[in-house]
């Protein structure tokens, strides 16, 4: 055995402790646990009876397109022309270059690549509209659009974006000023009408399968518009409102996320295009720091310096005098 193994270490009060050789008292753990179980049960029932729980109904493509057909159409055109947030997101949805967040060379989103492939023009607009039967005008418009050159398509979609910026909603129906947007007007009007019937929700969710529990496509489409985020803003749920901590209404939310959301409010994270990755990195370091606190001199001395323990163990210290 090496001499080092037998050499005693210096006693450090923030790391080491003298074994207890003093008195013991009877302690009934199972009874304590049982009483605690009943007490927490009563507390939970009381809180549930008094306050219940929130259940704000979900937004659908149907409810969105009926409530705000203009916003829906303004979003739909960006899905068709590939300028929406999802269309330009990058991995894991598509391979848009220079779109992943990074810290220096560390760019994990890019490294992991595209695993939830989404082509917004095809997946959100063209393929759903192709499922509609008995719509020869619409099908002809889709054929004309898809057979046109990229330059022609861009010319049409740009013209439509300009026109739909001045669109209005007349009794729930979309009215877009005329313009040189070719077949795109018919396409987006049909998309809006399909959404308003509920057909788009079903088509985007099912993806050609009967059973599906993956809501990626309808959720991403809804989140690209302003309707969902406006509802969230009204409930103080947006990032800049410390929303990560909050719940709808006056319910308590996730107070334990206070530190995570705090970093989003301070520079440089609050305006950085890499803010999410930066906040993650900070929280990983802090979590590791908390796990390894017993090894960190200074921090592990705070309990001894603050002397709160004198209150906790006051009966013990009195018994020593």
């Amino acid at each position: 055995m090496s001499p080092d193994a037998k050499r005693p270490r210096r006693f450090k009060p923030d790391r080491d402790v003298k074994e207890w050789k003093g008195a013991y008292v009877p302690y009934d753990f199972l009874k304590e646990a049982f009483v605690a179980f009943l007490a927490v049960g009563v507390l939970t029932v009381l809180l549930a009876v008094v306050f219940s729980s929130p259940d704000e109904p979900a937004v659908t493509l149907k409810s969105w397109s009926i409530a705000n057909p203009v916003d829906f159409a303004q979003t739909a055109i960006t899905e068709l022309d590939g300028t929406s947030a999802v269309a330009t997101y990058g991995p894991p949805y598509n391979a848009t270059p220079n779109s992943s967040q990074h810290i220096g060379f560390f760019e994990p989103n890019q490294w992991f690549g595209v695993h939830q492939p989404i082509n917004t023009a095809q997946d959100f607009v063209i393929q759903p509209l192709r499922t509609l039967p008995s719509q020869p005008i619409l099908q002809a418009a889709l054929n004309r659009y898809q057979s046109a050159s990229t330059t022609q398509q861009t010319s049409w979609t740009t013209a439509y974006e300009k026109a739909v910026a001045n669109a209005n909603d007349v009794h729930g129906r979309l009215h877009v000023p005329l313009g040189p947007y070719g077949p795109v007007g018919i396409i987006i009007s049909a998309e809006t009408a399909m959404a308003q019937t509920g057909g788009l929700d079903g088509t985007l969710l099912s993806e050609g399968q009967f059973y599906n529990t993956n809501y990626t496509k309808p959720l991403l489409f809804i989140a690209d518009g302003t309707y969902l985020s406006n509802l969230a803003g009204a409930q103080h749920l947006q990032g800049s409102q410390w929303g990560m901590m909050n719940e709808t209404g006056n319910y308590p939310g996730q107070a334990w996320l206070w530190l995570y959301t705090m970093w989003y409010q301070v520079p440089p994270m609050n305006s950085s295009s890499n803010g999410d990755l930066e906040v993650w990195a900070i929280m990983m370091v802090l979590t590791l720091g908390l796990i390894l606190l017993p090894f960190i001199p200074g921090l592990r001395s705070i309990p001894r310096w603050t002397r709160v323990y004198r209150l906790i163990w006051r009966r013990h210290y009195r018994s020593l005098t």
Binding site: P8, R9, R10, F11, V17, K18, E19, W20, G22, Y24, V25, P26, Y27, F29, E32, A33, A36, V40, L43, T44, L47, A48, F51, S52, S53, D55, P57, A58, V59, Y89, P91, P92, P108, N109, F112, Q116, T213, N214, Y215, T216, A223, L231, A232, T248, Q254, W256, D276, W280, T287, L290, I291, L293, F295, I302, P303, R304, I312, W313, R315, H316
Partner: protein, 229 residues
Amino acid sequence: MSVDTGSHTDEPGAEESRQWTARARRAAESAFPPDRLLPDRQPAYMASWIYVFGVLTVVSLAWVIITGCVLAIMGPSWWHVSTAGHFVNSLHLWSVEAFFSFMVIHLWGKFFMAAWRGNRRLTWATGVISFAVSVGAAFTGYLSQQNFDSQWISTQAKDGINATGAGAVWNVLNFGQMLMWHIVLLPIAVVIIAGLHVLLVRRHGIVPPFADDERKSKETVAPPAEEPA
């Protein structure tokens, strides 16, 4: 007539048995003799209400799981269409709020006691890790609500998770995936880590108070030995 129970510890050579079963039993008996696993006494310095927050956290977790099981019996959509279901959902929500509140108070108490002292660093670490995993379990719960809240949370959280690359396989917009993480994988993880945490507390006992004399001791201490229960 005696019945052969299979435990032949009185037979010659039994102690040297190299069976996995015998070795596992000996290791468990050595680490957790019955009066250490379920002690009926505690050191006299355990005289503060702060000590009950560990067990309050554990029983709150029990209520979270029980109410979650009731929700599972009827399926994830039940609480939207049934008053009784909504009530059980409320029980689930408030038991989660109780769980996190008691756990954080427990953490504050253990911090101010410097409860990692005396080779209890792994106890501390498993406590922090079970907190972190619990946050993940609660997060997947919020995603499983199938309402506006889960729509907003998922479409926002996806940016943070995608930035780390985890979004390639862990898709918060995939309700089915998130529900299964919430009701299968993460509860198992929480229970295992919290269970290890409790076993470590039983193994090492609760941390003794700081010595009354706070000056840095010039004494030495022998390499750590077994602490009494």
